[in-house]
């Protein structure tokens, strides 16, 4: 680390009044600060959504429990789903993309810094709007309250007749507002990656994280548009007396399903592809090997993005589509397992023969590989229409998609937290607490979501607020709820680790992992302008070239 860059950091460390520092956070257009804002915002909502999940699990711990009312239970699962997808997972991946993409492609900021700030605040206000429904949706007067129509809000339940008050309006408007923010961030990411790469970084030399976030942003653009359109139609129906989803006037409830899932399924890959991106950066570094099959990884990512646009109606097999439509969506859904499988083999091949070091990020990444495989396998099971007719709407589906979102995506998000925490804070996290977090979470995750498959197979429908004893569901629900205890404890350890290490951690230096991508070449935390002189790269691992001038990568690529 040069003394010059140390000098720059020191001047920014002069303590300023609290008001001034807060003002700086609110008015910032720096991609790193906005990235941190996104991630902190997502963490707060992760805790909120987690509390909602915990309340539901307490209610379901035994039959005929009366911990929450049926009405409150409906609100809980709606808010839990909406919060976790739109105000935890999306801001989380956007936050990491915001922070990392410019650093990893050797740029000084995003392409449109002010659009970046605008997008964050739109997302932030979208979340606040959703939660304002608790008091604003006529909640305090007994009618309405938080939205209770489920996170995919099927028609005609959302019609004025069945959803009086304003709770559903809050749901719609909050997704409209945050959708604008999502599209803004996606536009920004694509423009950044295409237009601001440092000299020498051709598309074929970009870190895989940049490639995958480029694909993710493309999916956001193509998927959030339909969601916005569907929400606009719902607003027309609810406020202007329109008939889009009004079955009595010739409208169709199934059309809403199509429009929602045209967004809803690509959305899964909007969240999963950044998780793949973290895995593709973390697994090589902790295996001390370059990623196996870089071009194939890029091709598989693009294939997943492409196919994910044509699988949406596998959420709708039970609606009763034509057998031609069923066949198409069965085959397209099964086809997406091929590029996904290629990725798993590439990560395994990267680890194969490597000098693996199981630090906390690598522990999470390894668990991710196993859990993502299982999540994919239950996905292939559910993609088969006859099997789906039996299990759609059951806890088997709930277990499957939580295996994807928690077991794969959240595990990789945790890995990314530990891997890049030294870069963001300039300090190391506590390895013992990190490992404790990992083991508690692995135990809790498997207790909850492995055993959740069983009541699903035994016929337990999702979204019921209680159940009869003696159906064979009792013990499984008890185990599932016990798992939540472990997961909650793990998240507490995680947050404690973050907070303690932020203030008291050991100084990390600029490159604690002996990494290969550009972000490790600048200081930790990076200066506001990232790079005093823009780097020039000749291979996919510029820092390897720098550290090993006798055997650089560009001789082989």
């Amino acid at each position: 680390m040069s003394t010059e860059s140390m000098g720059w950091t020191a001047t920014t460390d002069v303590p300023r009044p609290l008001v001034e520092r807060l003002h700086h956070w609110v008015t910032t257009v720096d991609h790193k600060r906005l990235g941190i804002l996104y991630v902190v915002y997502a963490l707060i909502f992760l805790v909120v959504g987690g509390i909602e999940a915990t309340l539901m699990r307490i209610q379901l711990i035994r039959p005929h429990n009366a911990f929450v009312s049926p009405q409150a239970f409906n609100q809980l699962f709606t808010m839990h789903g909406t919060t976790m997808i739109f105000f935890v997972a999306m801001p989380m991946v956007f936050g990491f993309a915001n922070y990392l993409v410019p650093l990893m492609i050797g740029a000084r900021d995003m392409a449109f810094p002010r659009l970046n700030a605008f997008s964050f605040w739109m997302t932030a206000f979208g979340g606040l709007l959703l939660y304002f429904s608790i008091v604003g949706g006529y909640g305090l007067y007994g009618a309405g309250g938080a939205p209770d129509v489920g996170w995919f809000a099927y028609a005609p339940l959302t019609a004025k007749t069945f959803s009086p008050g304003h709770s559903t309006d809050f749901w719609t408007l909050s997704l409209l507002v945050s959708g604008v923010g999502s599209i803004g961030t996606a536009v920004n990411l694509i423009a950044t990656i295409l237009c601001l790469r440092c000299p020498g970084m051709t598309l074929g030399k970009m870190p895989l994280l940049a490639w995958m976030n480029l694909t993710m942003a493309g999916l956001v653009i193509l998927a959030v548009g339909p969601l916005t359109a569907a929400q606009l139609m719902l607003v027309v129906d609810r406020y202007l007396g329109g008939h889009f989803f009004d079955t009595q006037a010739g409208g169709s409830a199934v059309v809403w399903m199509h429009f929602f899932w045209v967004f809803g399924h690509p959305e899964v890959y909007v969240l999963a592809i950044p998780a793949f991106a973290f895995a593709s950066e973390i697994i090589p570094v902790f295996s001390r090997k370059a990623i196996f099959g870089y071009p194939v990884m890029v091709a598989a990512t693009l294939a997943i993005g492409f196919i994910s646009m044509s699988v949406w109606a596998h959420h709708m097999f039970t609606v009763g589509m034509t057998s031609l439509a069923n066949t198409f969506f069965v085959l397209s859904t099964m086809a997406i397992a091929v590029p996904t499988g290629i990725k798993i083999f590439n990560w395994l091949a990267t680890m194969w023969g490597g000098k693996i070091s199981f630090r906390t990020p690598m522990l999470f990444a390894t668990a991710f590989l196993f859990q993502f495989l299982i999540a994919g396998l239950t996905g292939v099971m559910l993609s088969s229409a006859p099997f789906n007719w039996q299990l759609s709407g059951s806890y088997f589906v709930v277990a499957h998609f939580h295996y994807v979102i928690v077991g794969a995506i959240l595990f990789m998000v945790f890995a990314a937290f530990y891997y890049w925490f030294p870069k963001v804070s300039g300090r190391m996290y506590d390895e013992r607490l990190g490992k404790l977090h990992f083991w508690l979470f692995v135990i809790g995750f498997h207790l909850t979501f492995d055993f959740m498959h069983v009541p699903g197979l035994l016929g337990m429908p999702r979204r019921i607020y209680t159940y009869e004893p003696g159906r064979g569901w009792d013990v499984w629900n008890l185990i599932v709820t016990i798992g939540v205890l472990f997961q909650s404890a793990a998240v507490l350890v995680f947050v404690a680790n973050l907070v303690l290490s932020w203030f008291r951690g050991q100084p990390a230096g600029s490159d604690p992992w002996d990494g290969w991508t550009l972000e490790w070449s600048t200081t930790s935390p990076p200066p506001e302008y990232n790079y005093a002189v823009l780097p020039v790269v000749r291979s996919r691992r510029p820092l390897w070239d720098l550290k090993h001038p006798e055997d650089p990568d560009w001789k082989y690529e």
């Binding site: 449109f112 295409l194 006037a249 010739g250």
Partner: protein, 197 residues
């Protein structure tokens, strides 16, 4: 280590990337196109599904305003080209012509809607046709309005002599948006007034 040492010595590579303005606008256009696709699909799907009330046969072909809107794509193109070569007055003429043509289109839409509402009794809550028609045409008209506000802002700045040749790149980005709005009208015109009638 200092970041500058990452540079490999002696590299004399030429490094040119696309400029961020058009790339950003193309992305925005893709997102907007996705929104319009959903509205067009809804329009086509609900054709003839209204259980009561007026049908699309009451629509008249809006030929004149369509010609005006499509011509404005040409005029904005000539405007930006004039500005690029530094002829600001010529630019202003083409630019104001674009503004006028867009305004004529909006006025024509307003007249058409007044006729439909007052004479034909078709409102957005009358039947499915009303809902889908006003939503699709209205969404497009909203985009025309946004475009006119932007074009009008630039016109004001031009009157204040703030617009120079160096701004041609930015106005090129705005013209991309305007071309998109026109292209959407071609689709809406075909779907609503040709296929749907």
């Amino acid at each position: 280590m200092a970041s500058e040492t990452v540079a490999s010595p002696g590299s004399d590579l030429r490094w040119e990337l696309p400029s961020r303005g058009p790339v950003g606008m193309y992305c925005l256009i893709a997102a907007e196109a996705a929104i319009f696709v959903i509205f067009v699909v809804a329009y086509l799907f609900y054709l003839g599904k209204s259980v009561s009330g007026p049908t699309p046969s009451i629509l008249a072909l809006p030929v004149f305003i369509s010609v005006c809107l499509l011509s404005s794509s040409l005029s904005i193109h000539f405007a930006v080209r004039s500005l690029r070569s530094g002829r600001v007055t010529l630019f202003l003429l083409w630019w104001v012509l674009t503004l006028l043509l867009g305004a004529i289109f909006l006025g024509g839409t307003a007249r058409e809607w007044r006729h439909l509402i007052a004479d034909e009794g078709l409102r957005i809550d009358t039947n499915l046709f009303g809902t889908t028609y006003y939503s699709l045409v209205g969404l497009h008209a909203l985009h025309v309005t946004v475009g006119l506000l932007l074009i009008g802002t630039v016109a004001v700045f031009t009157f204040l002599r703030q617009v120079r040749a160096q701004h041609a790149g930015r106005l090129e980005v705005l013209s991309l948006y305007w071309h998109f709005v026109d292209a959407v009208w071609v689709v809406v015109f075909t779907v609503v007034y040709v296929i749907g009638r």
